[in-house]
Amino acid sequence: MLRLERVSKCFFPNTPDERRAVRELSLLVRPGEFVTIVGSNGAGKTTLLNLVSGQYFPDRGKIFINGQEITYLPAYKRAQFLGRVFQNTFQGTAASLTIEENLAIAFRKGQKKGLKIAIREPMREVFKEKLSLLGLGLERRLRDRVGLLSGGQRQALALLMATLGNPKILLLDEHTANLDPKTAQKIMKLTDELIRDSELSALMVTHNLQEALSFGDRTLMMDEGDIVLDLSGQERKNVTIEELLERFSEVRHKKFAEDRALLSS
């Protein structure tokens, strides 16, 4: 379970470049809940994920995972709770290492690293088994360097690595945006399976509204650093993309009107 309590993050505070990326945001994600997040560029979606993963610490507010406060826990210490895949297909893997070396790093996540040889034969069997689930034939290429793989293959591997260490929460930041439509679809299907099979909670940022509504259990819309729309259950089932777009412009207009009212008063 993930809980954010009135979390704020501002970049370059008190300067002309001030960016209030996340503002007083509160959110509760239940175990096994798959949340999709949409919102325009600069809405604060990536920053929200960065706050959860510990890339940045919030200025105010608190973050909990399974009831344990992690607000200021260093990124590497909270990594055992989290898996993460990025838009850039090079970000989720180490390109100069082989497939099996990448998997070995993820395999013993959270355990103390020692002077044991990292890859042993029984482990390779597990790797092959997991890789065969991806259906890309990577199980036959354990010793190929990851830099040789295609973007889609790398992203599939990154997904596998992100979920291998049994995290509680999966963070996905437009992880299919750099792939061709067909590969994107494949990766999306794979993502859904992995999340469902391991009963993970997930936060998935996407700019594809169709994807946002057809996958997951709940859809959030973000704007100016806060959640402006939170759809789930029947309401979400019935909503169309057009309605979602409309709701979005409504929200923006309301804000615009409020701003104007504020300025003119």
Partner: protein, 302 residues
């Protein structure tokens, strides 16, 4: 005469191969351009001499040099990971501090190690052990054996959990962090081990040459880098086993090239003090080569 002279540069190449492996570990595995080398190399030699003057045997002396090098590397790593000082500056700071420290250890700018003074080295021990074998072959065999042992141990290390994490840190630090490993720790381990190897190489050279000079470290990091990239150009290995092997080959070839320049370079007016220029230009040419080739290609296309 030529044969002897080649034998000598092979010995040097093997000896500095250990230093090159250290440079490879930071520059290539960790992607950390560590300039500590110019200080940790004479540190190893100074510590060895310090021990020798106090009657400590050469094996223990080399062990002490190894540890001292590790400490120097740790200090650089600490500056970088704790104080967040940029990599290059961290190395330079340690290097400059070590200059004074090395002088303190040595007591004066240069000291000699000699049998007349009762100093034993690994080479004198070997000679006493195998008096029937010519000394030059003995040295060659020993250095070859030692550098191969170091290579194999380094290969093994790079395949351990920690070693793999060190390599991954140089490739994708964010990934390492996301996989629950503290990249600061892997950097400290890698930089310490690298400088331990460099100092070991310094301790060996002190015994090989029979003296220690406070300035012996100047340019060693570039010499090490030259070995690494000469090896890369020659062999282009892809797996750890071959890559560390090519570092050693690179070191031997580089030493041969400098020996040739020193011996026959006088024809074009080459002087011993031109050696650093030679090394610098060699590294510049090899590093520039891919870029220049690409530019030329683009020009043709246009």
């Amino acid at each position: 005469m030529i044969f002897e002279f080649l034998l000598y540069s092979v010995q040097e190449g093997l000896l500095f191969g250990i230093l090159a492996l250290g440079v490879f570990l930071t520059f290539r595995c960790l992607d950390f351009p560590d300039l500590t080398v110019d200080g940790s190399y004479p540190l190893g030699a100074a510590v060895f001499a310090f021990m020798a003057y106090r009657g400590v045997g050469p094996v223990a002396g080399m062990g002490a040099a190894f540890l001292a090098g590790a400490m120097a590397g740790f200090f650089t790593g600490f500056l970088h990971t704790f104080s967040r000082i940029p990599a290059l500056l961290s190395g330079i700071l340690t290097m400059i501090c070590l200059y004074s420290i090395n002088l303190r250890i040595m007591g004066r700018p240069n000291i000699s190690l000699s049998e007349n003074l009762g100093h034993r080295t690994v080479f004198t021990i070997l000679r006493d052990f195998f008096p029937q074998i010519p000394e030059v072959y003995l040295r060659l065999a020993f250095l070859l054996g030692l550098v191969l042992v170091v290579k194999v141990l380094l290969d093994l290390f790079l395949r351990t959990e920690i070693g793999l994490a060190v390599r991954a840190t140089g490739d994708n630090e964010a990934l390492v962090e996301a996989q629950g490993i503290n990249p600061d720790h892997t950097k400290l381990v890698g930089i310490s081990l690298s400088n331990a190897l460099v100092a070991l190489s310094g301790a060996l050279f002190a015994q090989f040459q029979g003296f220690v000079d406070i300035n012996m470290g100047i340019g060693m990091v570039i010499a090490g880098l030259a070995s690494v990239i000469v090896g890369e150009v020659l062999l282009r290995g892809r797996f750890i086993f071959w890559i560390t092997f090519q570092v050693i080959v690179g070191s031997v070839v580089y030493r041969m090239a400098t020996a040739i320049a020193l011996n026959w370079g006088y024809v074009i007016g080459f002087q011993p003090y031109d050696l650093k220029l030679f090394t610098g230009l060699l590294v510049i040419i090899i590093l520039s080569f891919p870029v220049v080739r690409e530019r030329l290609r683009l020009k043709k296309v246009r």
